[in-house]
């Protein structure tokens, strides 16, 4: 149980990228009526940014 929770917290930045950053980017694009590049939908574009960013934060230990 403890190990599972530790793992969950370790991967939390990645989950945050998918669970929060991605939809936030998508909704910001829609709010400001900005088209996502390469013909992607807003959610796909959000995931394309949020998931790698969260993975980067998980592995490097910081968001920037």
């Amino acid at each position: 149980m403890t190990t599972a929770i530790r793992q969950l917290f370790y991967w939390m930045p990645f989950l945050f990228g998918i669970g929060f950053i991605a939809p936030l980017i998508a909704q910001m694009l829609e709010y400001w009526q900005v088209e996502a590049p390469w013909g992607l939908g807003p959610v796909m574009f959000g995931l394309l940014i949020g998931a790698p960013w969260g993975l980067y934060a998980t592995l490097r230990g910081r968001w920037l």
């Binding site: 930045p13 945050f16 669970g19 929060f20 909704q27 910001m28 998980t58 230990g61 910081r62």
Partner: protein, 322 residues
């Protein structure tokens, strides 16, 4: 600072009580035992005048519960486009930072002492005030009291990770310490609680886990339901701004440069251009560390009376004349 201090400021509190003593006495640790004891008695007499009376602390309770109720109301109001998000963002940021102040009084049981009928409200304020910060009361209280016991100890003071050489680096560090791979802020608190290992520490860790996971579940569910902007502006950003503000003003500013570990040198008296209210009363933090039972809104008045005694103890009060 003057190398020597005369007896008058140390014991002569009444105006015109006498001229300077014939035998000059040193400040701080150079004082003899009798003078130190006399100073301490006078200090305590002043502190007693300003010690919190839980019956008069109800504004802390009213403000905390009122702000929390407003913050809860912001959600449906923002989702229905009744409340402008920018307004909700500004208010939520104020609630996030200010909540720590009311919670802080609860940490010291200033709103209700154990075993009294006011205790319920003390605990209620503590539990509610820092929810926006995703910082449970059990952890906040344990870590803050630990900070009081071990102020500026590099190993044992939970807030020592806020140390920074200057104000710009201090602001940067407030952000850096929250990064997932850095041993600062709440990550540092978790490690200390694991080391303490008592049932209370384990309970604090459990509360932290529940609050953090609950908040993340709420964030994700709301964001994927189309309310990511609401979450960002009513909770996520206010929390980050509030935490940085608190870390800077409540931890770095009053303890910089974190070299003193003694009763009279583990804080500093300072003056800031942003003033008493925006610095959350921290210019007078020395009074809080000496007498945590004096509530935040009274430390200024206690300081004014204690100033001659503090100076006699070697505290540099030159930054604040009153």
């Amino acid at each position: 600072m003057n190398e020597m201090t005369t007896l008058q400021p140390a014991v002569g509190l009444s105006p015109g009580a006498g001229d300077a003593s014939a035998i000059p006495l040193g400040a701080g640790n150079e004082l003899d035992a009798h003078t130190r004891r006399t100073l301490l008695q006078q200090e305590r007499a002043i502190a007693r005048k300003y010690t919190s009376d839980p019956k008069k602390m109800w504004p802390y309770t009213a403000i905390t519960l009122g702000c929390f109720a407003l913050w809860l109301a912001f959600w449906p109001l923002a989702m229905m486009d009744i409340l402008p998000l920018w307004l909700g963002f500004v208010a939520s940021t104020v609630f996030a930072a200010g909540g720590y102040i009311t919670s802080h009084e609860a940490m010291h049981s200033n709103i209700g002492r154990p075993g009294t009928k006011e205790r319920f409200w003390n605990e209620a304020v503590g539990q509610v005030a820092t929810i926006i910060l995703i910082f449970p009361f059990s952890m906040a209280r344990m870590m803050h009291l630990h900070h009081h016991y071990y102020t500026n100890d590099p190993e044992k003071d939970p807030d020592y990770t806020d140390a920074a050489p200057g104000k710009y680096s201090a602001w940067y560090k407030t952000w850096l310490n929250r990064q997932p791979g850095i041993d600062g802020s709440i990550h540092h608190y978790k490690r200390i609680l694991e080391r303490i290992g008592t049932p209370a520490a384990k309970a604090a860790l459990r509360d932290t886990m529940i609050l953090q996971l609950g908040a993340m579940a709420f964030f994700f569910a709301m964001a994927w339901s189309g309310y990511a902007m609401e979450v960002a502006l009513l909770w996520w950003l206010p929390r980050h701004i509030g935490l940085s503000y608190i870390r800077f003003w409540l931890s770095w500013a009053p303890h910089h440069p974190r070299t003193g570990t003694g009763r009279y040198d583990n804080t500093r008296v300072f003056k800031t251009w942003i003033g008493h209210y925006l610095s959350m009363g921290m210019q007078y933090h020395v009074v809080h560390h000496l007498y945590p039972e004096v509530p935040n809104h009274l430390t200024r008045y206690a300081y004014r009376e204690m100033k001659p005694l503090l100076e006699a103890r070697g505290v540099d009060c030159s930054a604040l004349k009153d």
